[in-house]
Symmetry: C2
Subunit: 337 residues, 2 copies
């Protein structure tokens, strides 16, 4: 029995925002499994800002997605066929399945997920890469301590919404930045942020200074740009900036200015540090256990923005990240058109 | 017996480079000493890039020099009169004496210096604030390790020349950046740097890439600007940038762009950290002992650029820092006109 996989491949490297013409939908007959391989029927595809970086032909932490290759993406699915001893047909798994409805992977590159404890989208959000990113970025890279003031940008996104809640439960004062009154209200009223600043309302530096009258000890940065520069001006002594992302520049077609106030790092003996969650893979079980416990205790609100649709919906769904259309973790749940 | 002090005071805040009109020379009759105070006859005045920052009316790590106040400066001098039990007439001391030929300070704010072990200018250079800055910046902030590649800017200056030599003796490969062939030759031939790049020769990024084909683990930054941005592009995994200064922007009259390639910190899981040597004051004895031992063993080359002149020579001497006219530690040795 052969399987035909439908796949979204990279047709051309985008300049600025990806477009429909960036992609090409293909059908491929998958080869028979080799020993150790697993066939996954993909049910949920994760949309992450970092995916934009993978489209550029530039040296980075991961090689770019090659032209004509299946677009790289994390997903959740069901084992449809297995030649790996750890996986049986029907098991729920997660891994780098790509933007496709079926994928063949070595079993070593899949992890089981327990859909009885959390639904698939949550395994791509708080219990997946974004949640791990928040956990290690906040506790390890930024080393937030109780009593400190923490600023989070992209705070209504998959990573920021978790980072802010973790900081709050850790005894920090937490200020979030998000776009629009609906998101800022959600941060304060549902997630327990102390304050939220709407960057779309304008006057961002003045607003941040008002929300942070005594400055900040930790800035968890998902956006870069003007907001990072503003945060630099608000550093307290020995402050830490964790550079998690810089979505404001991901689709730039012109050179983007750097943070002009970086010398505030000197004045305040502060540091700015970049990190990649994949470096912490060995410690994911520790963080996952902690996150599951928080979710089951009701102390961590998880939210996913699930778009149902076929693979053809991939580009439009992906673009929601850059217009700020999603609140919480953005997921494409594969459904026939 | 009263003492008339000649003093250089801040007459107006400079925009761009300081000028003669920035300063006013005054004579002041010093009051009789109170208990615990010491009268110092100043012999040597330290010229440091950081002094430029103290002229700006901006929140920083130290309050700005007030208008009409004596310009802040470190110096070496001789005790002329003492009402402090730790100091006797004739003792050599160092401290924040200001740009003046005489100063009264509380004894607690003076440190003795041993002119039998090193001359006064060296106590303002390798054994003074610049040497301490190099020592703690390299070993503590940047945490340079044997076998790593270290890039130093301002490498022919007071801090950079020491930082590079410390890195070399620590087992690092060391590349220095300085202005002009005389300085770069000095770095390689006299100080033992592995390579030196002349930033005045143009094409700085290409030159740095050639000197650092495998990138850098540590960048000790004294200059900021385009060179910092270039260094960011050359980071290796887990690299550290110690932000010690940013002299390229100190006299800027227009906003200066920030380091556009800061996202290299993320890609390379690297960090950029600012520091102030004053935070390490409690550990100065440890570093001073190490530096004295290196100097006496002949393993650390110290060099001072001593300008002899009266206080009237202060502005011209200070400006040498910004044109790159000095090699090594710049000192004004007070001599009558």
């Amino acid at each position: 029995m052969t399987t035909i996989a439908r796949q979204v491949r990279l047709a051309s490297r985008p300049v600025g925002l990806p477009q429909e013409s960036t992609w090409r939908l293909t059908e491929q007959e998958l080869p028979a499994l080799e020993e150790g391989e697993v066939l996954v029927r993909v049910t949920h595809i994760s949309l992450d800002p970092a995916m934009r970086g993978w489209l550029n032909d530039a040296r980075s932490y991961a090689p770019p997605v090659a032209l004509d290759a299946v677009m790289r993406a994390i997903g959740v699915g069901t084992v449809a066929e297995s030649r790996h001893k750890s996986f049986a047909v029907g098991d729920a798994v997660t891994g780098m399945v790509g933007v496709a409805d079926h994928a063949v992977l070595p079993g070593e590159r899949l992890q089981p997920v327990d859909l009885g404890r959390a639904p698939a989208p949550t395994w791509l959000g708080a219990l997946g890469m974004p949640g791990m990113t928040a956990w290690f970025g906040l506790f390890d890279v930024a080393a937030a301590k109780p009593g400190e003031t923490v600023l989070v940008s992209g705070a209504a996104g998959a990573v920021g919404s978790v980072a802010g809640q973790l900081a709050k439960s850790h005894g920090c004062r937490v200020v979030g930045i998000a776009g629009g009154p609906e998101k800022t209200r959600w941060l304060v009223e549902e997630l327990g942020f102390d304050e939220a600043v709407d960057y779309k309302a304008g006057g961002i530096h003045r607003a941040l200074r008002a929300a942070l009258p005594d400055g900040l000890d930790v800035y968890f940065d998902n956006v870069g740009g003007e907001i990072l520069d503003s945060a630099l001006r608000l550093l307290r002594l020995k402050a830490r900036i964790a550079i998690c992302g810089g979505i404001s520049a991901y689709n730039a077609t012109e050179p983007v200015p750097g943070p002009a106030h970086y010398m505030s790092l000197l004045v305040n003996r502060a540091r700015m540090e970049g990190f990649l969650v994949s470096d912490y893979a060995g410690r994911f079980p520790e963080a996952t256990a902690d996150m599951l416990a928080r979710i089951e205790a009701g102390t961590l609100v998880t939210r996913e923005h699930v778009v149902e649709g076929p693979l053809e919906a991939f580009n439009d769904t992906f673009l929601m990240l850059f217009s700020g259309a999603n609140t919480g973790k953005l997921v494409l749940e594969l459904k026939p058109a």
